[in-house]
């Protein structure tokens, strides 16, 4: 239990860790989305390319935008960018640092989708089966051009009637899948090398400015959180005072209208405090009615001075 609480608090306190967590979750979500998505190539000449490339590129755009939306820091960065300078100068290096870290995290899920798509191969087979050179294949010898296009377009649909008798569709599938997987692995390799170089070479060049930028971007984030918490605390105290003031003013009104002598009883003082002089059904009803029809003004300066 303690361990869990510590882990929870650690993640909460460090907003970068939270962002990394969200980034990882989004990457897992993209894999899950791909596996649960029912890919069905239309197997029609013009539609194949649009469908295949659409499935390969539109979900990454969606995942990228989701990565930006879910990242709290993007709002903080935008506010910092658009705020008037006032008495605090704006440091463009900090804004650039925040922007680049947000973009890097948002790019992870789209890249995962593209790589998984390429390694699986269905998209590329669907999109480019019509572009394979038919002369290299055996079963397409005595067929006209239009029919060749149609046959090639049907290659991704294995259980189509025309395809069942044609053995070349396996060759086309294997060929395209080989290209797709090669592309997928190459992209993965290039990206990992780029990330590795960026992480290793960065300290050689700009370590001091990097430390500054990171510190101040962390600071802006924490300042924003604390401001929101302070506003919440303040509004709670404000509401508390406002309500107490309201009860007291009701109590005074009742004292004015009633003819009771001041009570001097020492007993039940604790309870009397809580009752605040309202000891009657009618008084309670009046108080509740007043609360709805005439809410007290948002001004607790008098109550504060008492």
């Amino acid at each position: 239990m303690d361990r869990f609480r510590m882990i929870f608090q650690y993640f909460q306190s460090n907003s970068e860790s939270v962002m990394n967590g969200i980034c990882g979750l989004l990457a897992l979500a993209s894999v899950k989305m791909y596996t649960s998505f029912d890919f069905s190539c239309p197997c029609l000449p013009q539609y194949n390319v649009a469908y295949g490339l659409g499935i390969m590129f539109i979900p990454p755009i969606i995942l990228f935008l989701c990565g930006l939306i879910l990242n709290r820091q993007s709002l903080v960065m935008l506010e910092e960018w658009r705020r008037p300078a006032g008495r605090r100068k704006k440091d463009l290096a900090v804004i650039r640092y925040m922007c680049s870290s947000i973009m890097q995290r948002a790019m992870v899920a789209p890249i995962v989708w593209i790589v998984v798509t390429l390694l699986d191969g269905k998209c590329l087979i669907c999109a480019f089966s019509g572009s394979v050179d038919p002369e290299k294949l055996v079963g397409f010898a005595n067929v006209s051009t239009v029919q060749v296009q149609q046959l090639l377009a049907k290659v991704p649909c294995k259980d189509d009637e025309l395809m069942k008798n044609n053995t070349s569709h396996k060759a086309v599938s294997r060929y395209l899948r080989c290209w797709s997987q090669a592309l997928g692995w190459s992209i993965l390799l290039i990206l990992i090398i780029a990330a590795f170089l960026a992480r290793w070479l960065r300290p050689c060049f700009t370590q001091a400015t990097l430390l500054q930028a990171r510190h101040w971007s962390n600071y802006i984030d924490i300042e924003q959180k604390i401001f929101e918490e302070t506003c919440c605390e303040h509004s709670r105290l404000f509401a508390h005072k406002c309500i107490l003031h309201f009860f007291e003013s009701m109590q005074q009104e009742i004292k004015l209208h009633s003819f009771s002598l001041p009570r001097e009883g020492e007993e039940d003082e604790g309870e009397e405090d809580l009752l605040r002089g309202i000891t009657d059904q009618d008084q309670v009803n009046k108080l509740l009615k007043m609360w709805y029809y005439e809410k007290p003004p948002l001004d607790v300066s008098q109550a504060h001075q008492r």
Binding site: C41, Y47, Y51, L78, A239, S260, E267, D280, Y292
Partner: protein, 338 residues
């Protein structure tokens, strides 16, 4: 159990997190509902469109309304909107902020339903199977069927077992075509929604940040004030009830003393708290009478103040003139601690 309680407390403390949690649960519930729903296309020419579009559009509407119903803040918004102005002005930007944030959260589950439905493809296949372009995909000129016959055959596309138009257009070809269109629509819908959300979220800091901070603070304030007022009223009600019941028991025991002409039994000095808590009722008959009296004639909702500790008890209590006359069983209007 502790872990669950901590997670619950975390969500509760931050009102917005709590609302986000409900929103996420409803989105999951909508996907679960869709997968549990047994889609049954009627496969008849005019019914297909109605059924397909109905399944596509009616549940999102229900989920949208449910999103509003499950949101606690809807009553707060209605109250703030309808209250008389009184001594506190009304700020329309606060009302707009509250409404917008509720509407945004309520839109998520319907959007999830529509996207899942479109990406799955069954609804669009059912609704638009009669509009498949037979000329390009099949052999329209081959058959000599009338238009109505063709429509009836095409309407059976989603039901593979009874489909008899294999010469007109192959079932798989039509299903693949319709599903491709449906999935394209689905992804475009998701892209559109995500772009809108992104624009709404990122354009706000560029234009109206100060007004936004103000609206957010005051809408939080209204929420907290309402909760604190409810808590204060509950505290007050508890004290009211406690004093009312105490006075009831005291009144009972005084009555009995007066009726039986017994001297009030002073609790011995070393009796302790237990004797005090007995409130003067110390035998079965008295207790039974107290219980019967509580049921038959509850005391009025009016607490009388305790009399002064000196011997001079003053007659008449400080009753506000607006107190209605309630028939009371106890005739003694005052009592003194002798």
């Amino acid at each position: 159990m502790d872990k669950f309680r901590m997670i619950f407390q975390f969500f509760q403390s931050n009102q917005e997190s709590f609302m986000n949690g409900i929103c996420g649960i409803m989105a999951l519930a909508s996907t679960q509902m869709y997968s549990a729903f047994d889609f049954n296309c009627p496969c008849l020419p005019h019914y297909n469109l109605a059924y397909g579009l109905g399944i596509l559009l009616v549940p999102p509407f229900i989920l949208f309304l449910l999103g509003f119903v499950l949101n606690n803040n809807i009553s707060m918004l209605a109250e703030e909107w309808r209250r008389p102005q009184g001594q506190r002005g009304k700020d329309p930007s606060v009302l707009r902020y509250m409404f917008c944030s509720m509407a945004q959260r309520a839109m998520i589950a319907p959007a999830v339903w529509v996207s899942v439905t479109l990406l799955d493809g069954k609804c669009i296949t059912c609704a638009f199977c009669t509009s498949v372009p037979v000329e390009t995909l099949g052999n329209a000129s081959h058959s000599r069927l009338s238009q109505g016959e063709i429509q009836r055959i095409l309407a059976r596309i989603p039901c593979k077992e009874i489909y008899n138009g294999q010469q007109l257009i192959a079932n798989e070809v039509a299903v693949r075509y319709l599903r491709c269109i449906s999935q394209a629509l689905g992804w475009c819908f998701v892209l559109l929604m995500t772009t809108l959300a992104f624009l709404v979220r990122s354009l706000r800091p560029c234009f109206s940040q100060a007004a936004f901070l103000k609206s957010r603070y005051w809408s939080h304030y209204i929420d907290i004030e309402r909760k604190l007022f409810d808590e204060t009223c509950a505290e007050h009600a508890r004290s009211f009830a406690k004093v009312c019941i105490q006075q009831f028991f005291e009144g009972m025991s005084t009555d009995l003393v007066a009726a039986r002409c017994h001297l009030p039994r002073k609790a011995p000095a070393n009796a302790g708290e237990a004797a005090e808590k007995l409130l003067g009722i110390t035998d079965q008959g008295t207790m039974n009478r107290a219980l019967k009296s509580w049921h038959r004639c509850k005391p009025p909702l009016h607490l009388h103040p305790p009399a002064l500790p000196t011997g001079n008890g003053w007659v008449g209590e400080g009753q506000p003139p607006t107190h209605p006359s309630v028939p009371r069983r106890e005739t003694a209007a005052y009592y003194s601690w002798v």
